[in-house]
């Protein structure tokens, strides 16, 4: 069932300049059917009037991608603010990256999907779309063929640095872990949860029905009283309608990220 993300977003937005250092902009994309809408701001989420609106506005969605940015590649400006959204195969593709890449300009050559901003992140997204276009042309393949191929592309990008990825086409949510991704699936019997970054707890039993299933994926867990799965280096998961429908492991070497990304 489509759900709102007011609870999770209340915690995450605090990390953008309050409980965390990711103060260089934020963005969120909600899918509703095949359409999506994004809210973006190069301001810190903890102090953004638009973030406040999103916190309080219960937009129901089957897939949401949210990002708070700590700039390392590319200036702080709107065109460098995640998530990035582009169209392919009659779908909106939404992309958010945590980490940092090197040598992407020489190693990931782009022909068709030209970046607008100057981040390593958007460059890698455009390269992924280029590679999908080259491999599959105008015909979108079966979901498992497609996302297994995306995982191979991630493996290659990850060799250039740290590449934690969330990618969605609205129907699927694909997560690739370089060094820092956690996920949790909430379903009946529901319990309580307390945010780490804000004084807020929720009893999911009061706000759900027995058939609801929701998965949340984040670089660091958002709650301190639930059991989050930590993904391993090089692992990927494909989620659909709230549950993992496929996963795999690519070859990847764990890197020690620079201190400021914590």
């Amino acid at each position: 069932m489509p759900t709102d993300i007011c609870f999770s977003f209340s915690g995450l937005m605090q990390r953008g300049g309050n409980t965390g250092p990711h103060k260089d902009g934020w963005g969120i994309t909600f899918y509703e059917g095949k359409g999506c809408r994004s809210f973006k701001d190069p301001l810190p989420s903890a102090h953004s009037p638009i973030a406040e609106l999103v916190t309080n506005y219960p937009i129901k969605s089957e897939a949401v991608v949210c990002h708070i940015r700590q700039a390392n590649s590319g200036a702080v400006c709107l065109e460098n603010t995640h998530p990035f959204v582009r169209q392919m195969w009659g779908k909106n593709w939404t992309y958010a990256h945590n980490g940092q890449l090197a040598d992407h300009l020489t190693q990931l050559k782009i022909k068709y999907h030209i970046p607008i901003g100057t981040t390593d992140s958007e460059h890698a997204f455009c390269w992924i779309l280029d590679q999908l276009h080259i491999e599959f042309a105008e015909k979108e393949p079966d979901e498992k063929v497609l996302f297994s191929y995306v995982a191979k592309l991630c493996e290659r990008i990850n060799q250039l640095g740290v590449f934690n990825l969330i990618l969605s086409d609205g129907d699927h949510l694909f997560a690739y872990c370089s060094n820092n991704l956690h996920w949790i699936t909430r379903k009946a019997p529901f319990g309580e949860a307390s945010l780490i970054d804000a004084e807020m707890c929720v009893d999911f039993q009061q706000v759900t029905t027995a058939n609801d299933i929701v998965t949340v994926i984040a670089t660091r867990p958002l709650t301190n009283d639930e059991s989050w799965h930590k993904m391993s280096c090089g692992q990927w998961h494909l989620f659909k309608l709230g549950v993992s429908i496929a996963c795999g492991q690519t070859e990847a070497e764990e890197r020690i990220p620079p201190a400021q990304t914590f």
Copy 2:
């Protein structure tokens, strides 16, 4: 100079379900440098909490495209809500259409830029991008060559019905008139203006500097005490940094629009 559009938007949003019948969703895209952000809602703008935020939030921009929808082709849903934004040549292209087309599915064949929703409007946008890709490939031409070619494409689309268009790449704002577009350029000496759709007037002299230049384009004038230019059937204008830098006339036959579009 980048300017906010709080005044104009205050009037326009009233037409979405209050002073006008365009109650089937609304959207607005603000450019900031090469980046842009959109706010969209399939709800009537006159009653939308997001529209209220936009009215009161002074986002400064060099180019803004806003649309309120009266659905005639395609259901009322997010993927059918204007403006449509797509990327080409490392730029964000924003498109809003007023009017209605027939036979576009057979007359405007699409190969590369596949629509996400089901409107005639998005279909025509995708066709324009396809044609630009076919004509100019990976190399964006000179601005006058480009937009003269866009005008020719508009002429062809306009043969299928009513096609009032606003198209922007952030640097330029292109307007094509099928039957219903008005524009006004405000510059020093500034005067006062009163909205038609809301009890609001502004003395632009109080909120501008001598070098400010702003052009507003709308299907119907937004103020009742200024002189708006009415565009003729088949005419186009190319605006840049607030002024018209080129215009032309295509062959077009004026059509009587269906009564409900007034």
